[in-house]
């Protein structure tokens, strides 16, 4: 693998990690506005993002890179004031993560391509669950 290819691999993985950091933060906000089964689902998704974050950090360390750190706070795309906006935020977070993994699919390394393609399926599924409907092209710009 050339240094240049490795640099683009690292950049794509850092993008995915940044999206996972944002999702971990965002689910904390969304979860606070949900209750019952929805809050339990949000907690499960929050844990899934923490695990994905840890996986990405380990992959980056293995590539000799320093994983990007989480921001202390994130600006939300819209005000989250109730269950409806909380679910919309969860869907938006999942869309962001899906998009970031789709960027990993564009690298040259075949193993990483497969990793990105598989990793985008859980967030695509979670986005569909929060939104209540599927989309034709998860992760693609709309």
């Amino acid at each position: 693998m050339t240094n240049r290819a490795a640099a683009s691999d690292v950049a794509a993985l850092q993008g995915a990690l940044a999206a996972e950091h944002a999702a971990v933060y965002g689910y904390g906000v969304a979860g606070a506005m949900l209750s019952g089964a929805e809050q339990a689902r949000a907690r499960g998704d929050w844990i899934a993002h923490q695990e994905a974050r840890d996986t990405l950090e380990a992959m980056l360390v293995k590539l000799g890179a320093t994983p990007v750190a989480a921001s202390p706070a994130y600006q939300l795309p819209f005000a989250v004031t109730d269950a409806k906006t909380a679910k919309a935020l969860a869907a938006a977070l999942e869309d962001g993560v899906t998009r970031a993994y789709l960027a990993v699919v564009a690298v040259q390394d075949r193993t990483l391509r497969s990793f990105g393609a598989l990793a985008m399926q859980p967030p695509a599924n979670r986005a569909a669950a929060w939104r209540g409907s599927t989309v034709a092209f998860p992760g693609m710009p709309t």
Binding site: R113, A117, N125, A128, A136, G139, M140
Partner: protein
């Protein structure tokens, strides 16, 4: 009066175009074109992906006709979008048409549960095949395959929610 040859020589001296034409003198008999070049692997894979979507749409057509009470139309619409986008990426290879025929017509199932199981299996298979094509594709085509595969993975979940597995 200048002869035709003299004229040519005269203009050749002043025209770089003619000079370069003169320099291109090759064999007297041109090479014979041996038909169109082979279709690249990437195009073949894309044509297979087009056919796979057509087969899925055929299956949904049958399932929707047999079990209209199942809310399957939105999923079929997304497959139509997949098909349109995949077709749009095909640069039609010489001598080869973009396929528009259905190549697999399995029975849809005598019960609702059987039909849903058939659709789910077809979607799962489509995901598996698309993911196997990532390595040989351009970055942009690999992303399209991955996105379509992710969409079809969400269809598997949606179908599971409609009935027992």
């Amino acid at each position: 009066m200048l002869s035709r040859r003299q004229l040519l020589v005269a203009s050749a001296a002043s025209s770089p175009v003619l000079l370069s034409l003169n320099a291109c003198k090759g064999p007297a008999v041109p090479a014979v074109l041996k038909g169109p070049p082979p279709v690249p692997d990437q195009t073949t894979m894309l044509l297979h992906a087009v056919t796979a979507e057509q087969n899925l749409i055929w299956l949904y057509d049958r399932a929707i006709a047999a079990y209209p009470e199942l809310a399957l139309s939105p999923l079929r619409s997304e497959h139509r979008e997949h098909l349109a986008e995949l077709r749009a990426r095909v640069v039609e290879p010489p001598g080869k048409k973009v396929p528009d025929t259905v190549t697999a017509k399995p029975a849809i199932g005598a019960t609702r549960a059987a039909a849903l199981a058939r659709l789910r299996a077809a979607e799962q298979n489509a995901v598996r095949v698309l993911l196997s094509r990532l390595g040989g594709a351009s970055p942009s085509l690999a992303q399209l395959y991955a996105s379509v595969a992710a969409s079809e993975a969400t269809h598997v979940t949606a179908l599971a929610a409609l009935g027992p597995s």
